[in-house]
């Protein structure tokens, strides 16, 4: 899908976005810059506590209290550019769900247990002053697209649906106002492998049918590898590497990305060659100075300990925050054959 990108049509642009708690002493998102192309599926991978969910919430200016969000987030609507962080309450209310929508971790807890699914759709449409009749027609269409029986699902209470059905109903709910950008934060985390795969297929279909831009956030590299056009790797509250999927999987350049790939189970790598990453990822209050990965990195030098590496570009559209990405490509061997198409990685 990478070739379908119009490279200079970003739908959302983040510049130096930070989220801080405790009066700025702990960073849970540290100067992230990123642009999202219209129509792409961007996968964001990182381990637990690397700031993925914060990145997702930032796009809707919905950081949990008392977090402080700074930097600049621009959203390119069809005819105007919106500065998300400058919006007032009511403008923000209409941006959310109408333009940028979100599917959270844990569909099971995203519905009000004492309300029918139908009421969730209706109240959402009404809150945005939409026509209920047309909106519900769209809701039914979306539910059918997701292989659910609209009548049955709409009449149900959340607990009457299985986990996979709730997840799909939640995706339908997030799309009911026809948003342009859909942010999904671990949408499949609570599901079994088969359901994860079928949801991925459905997402791909939805993306093509409704020309959606998607940001898919997960800790599961193999999962997002099958779906995404581009992949971003997060480590310690910042993006360390970003590239088209094929490029990232076949030519990973950040030592962390390479180590992450080596620690990910896959069929081409013998179990004996799988490598855990030594050490622990840092907590938000004491991120190491310089490159945040330096305490765990086999290539770290004095420069890494003092200076935070800027983004370098090993290839077009490929950026990596490492001084020694060339060395990393040589010295950190991948335990799977890089000449294999990256898509097989899933």
């Amino acid at each position: 899908m990478a070739q379908t990108h119009q490279p200079d049509d970003p739908i959302a642009t983040l510049e130096d976005v930070s989220v801080t708690y405790d009066d700025g002493t702990s960073f849970v998102l540290d100067n992230v810059s990123l642009h999202v192309e219209r129509g792409e599926i961007l996968g964001i991978v990182g381990e637990s506590g690397s700031g993925k969910s914060m990145l997702a919430s930032s796009l809707l200016d919905a950081i949990p209290d008392p977090g402080y969000l700074s930097g600049s987030i621009t959203y390119q609507a069809e005819e105007k550019t919106i500065d998300v962080l400058e919006l007032g309450q009511s403008e923000l209310r209409s941006l959310r769900w109408e333009e940028i929508s979100m599917v959270f971790q844990g569909a099971m807890s995203s519905f009000n247990p004492t309300m029918q699914i139908r009421d969730h759709f209706i109240e959402t449409i009404e809150a945005h002053n939409g026509g209920v009749q047309a909106g519900m027609d769209r809701a039914r269409q979306l539910l059918s697209d997701l292989y659910l029986d609209p009548d049955r699902v709409l009449e149900s209470y959340p607990h009457e649906l299985s986990g996979g059905m709730q997840q799909r109903a939640l995706i339908a709910l997030s799309l009911v106002l026809d948003p342009e950008l859909l942010v999904m934060d671990e949408p499949t985390a609570a599901l079994d492998l088969l359901m994860q795969q079928s949801i991925l297929l459905l997402l791909r279909e939805l993306q093509e049918k409704y020309q959606l831009t998607m940001i898919f956030i997960t800790h599961d590299l193999a999962l997002v590898g099958a779906l995404a056009d581009r992949l971003a790797v997060m480590y310690a509250f910042d993006i360390v590497e970003l590239a088209p999927k094929q490029q990232l999987l076949s030519n990973p350049s950040h030592p962390y990305t390479r180590a992450l790939l080596n620690s990910t189970p896959n069929l081409q790598a013998p179990l004996a060659e799988m490598r855990p990453i030594e050490g622990q990822s840092p907590a938000p209050i004491n991120v190491p100075s310089g490159c945040s990965y330096n305490p765990r990195c086999p290539l770290a030098t004095e420069e890494c300990r003092t200076t935070d590496p800027a983004m370098d570009s090993p290839a077009p559209e490929h950026s990596v925050a490492c001084f020694y990405w060339e060395k990393a490509q040589w010295e950190i061997e991948l335990n799977y054959a890089t000449d294999q198409p990256g898509g097989d990685h899933s």
Binding site: L60, A62, P64, R93, S94, R96, W97, M102, F104, Q105, G106, S109, S110, F111, N112, P113, T114, M115, Q116, E123, T124, A127, H128, Y157, H159, L173
Partner: protein, 335 residues
């Protein structure tokens, strides 16, 4: 589903039957009870023995000469017909006394319980919305202080302040003597309310704190739930989130507690009505205790138990109607 209703009904009936049977046994087991005392007294006064026996039998439905199972059946049949025996001290059928007293107790206790919950829900929700703030801290402190003061101590304090010092409200009794429905319905109702303010107030003040803290806890939990966050992001108004999301889900767990508290409060009326000289069933219960008037005590005891069983029964049957998650009721029995 049907099976569940049937089970619940059967269990309620069974509980009441056990209480009735226990009452029957207790009357016969109580040593040196009022009958023996009365018998001795009457005999000393020179009443012929046969007449004494006949009198004793009319009180209490006890016929010691009959076989026990016949006595039991007579007793149960009499109960079903509404015959709870005759009060020894008041010399009236127990049923008559209860019929006169029960509406007053129900009025006071049901009103008090309703007020407790209405206030607790609003107060607790406000505390939850302002969790950690000054209002929350002060309110939580006040709740704990209020719930640690027994309602009868509060009652006495209220009588002293409002009854004797300010002379605003009557110090006792359920109505002014001479005023009854015939002297004008409105006059009667206002007079009854005048007498009910202080008992209700003492129940509410002493009971509201605990329930408010419970509501606070529930509401804080719901406020932290994912579905509330998602609802806000979906652009729902704060008002709708507060009513349909927070309030509804936080109140649900309190519903059963509400109904059972009505039942418990009916039983708790004994002390309250004694403090306020309020002629409800609790007052007569105390009178019965004081005079060793077993038929009166037992009759009221049965009524209170039945009221509690019925309130639990209603809670069980209706919970499924207000919480869609409970359709079989298996996971949410009250007792």
């Amino acid at each position: 589903m049907i099976n569940y209703y049937f089970q619940r009904s059967a269990r309620a009936v069974l509980t009441i039957w056990v209480v009735i049977t226990a009452t029957f046994g207790m009357i016969r087991l109580l040593p040196g009870g009022p009958l023996a005392q009365l018998e001795a007294k009457l005999l000393r006064q020179g009443v012929p023995a046969g007449q004494v026996d006949a009198m004793l039998q009319t009180y209490q439905n006890v016929h010691p000469d009959k076989p026990i199972e016949v006595q039991y059946i007579d007793y149960v049949v009499a109960l079903i017909q509404g015959d709870l025996g005759t009060s020894i001290s008041r010399n009236k059928p127990v049923m008559t006394i209860i019929a006169d007293a029960l509406p007053w107790t129900i009025f006071v206790m049901v009103t008090a319980t309703f007020l407790i919950f209405a206030i607790a829900i609003v107060w607790g929700a406000l505390m939850a919305y302002r969790e950690g703030g000054a209002f929350d801290l002060l309110s939580s402190g006040a709740s704990i202080v209020l719930s640690s003061v027994p309602f009868y101590v509060l009652g006495i304090a209220l009588i002293i302040v409002f009854g004797y010092q300010l002379e605003l409200l009557p110090t006792g009794y359920r109505s002014t003597s001479g005023i009854d429905p015939e002297s004008g319905l409105l006059v009667f109702i206002l007079d009854a309310l005048d007498h009910a303010y202080l008992p209700i107030l003492s129940m509410v003040l002493a009971g509201v704190g605990l329930q408010a803290l419970a509501m606070r806890g529930n509401a804080i939990q719901v406020l932290g739930a994912d579905y509330v966050r998602v609802a806000r992001l979906r652009g729902l108004s704060d008002r709708r989130v507060a009513v349909r999301y927070v309030a509804r889900n936080a109140i649900l767990p309190m519903y059963t507690g509400f109904l059972t508290l009505i039942g418990f409060n009916l039983g708790g009326s004994v002390i309250l009505e004694e403090v306020f000289n309020y002629n409800g069933i609790g007052y007569y219960m105390f009178l019965g205790l004081d005079n060793r008037d077993y038929p009166l005590m037992m009759g009221i005891f049965l009524i209170i138990t039945t009221a509690l069983v019925i309130s639990v029964y209603i809670a069980d049957l209706t919970y499924g109607l207000i919480d869609p998650r409970i359709t079989t009721g298996e996971s949410n029995e009250t007792y």
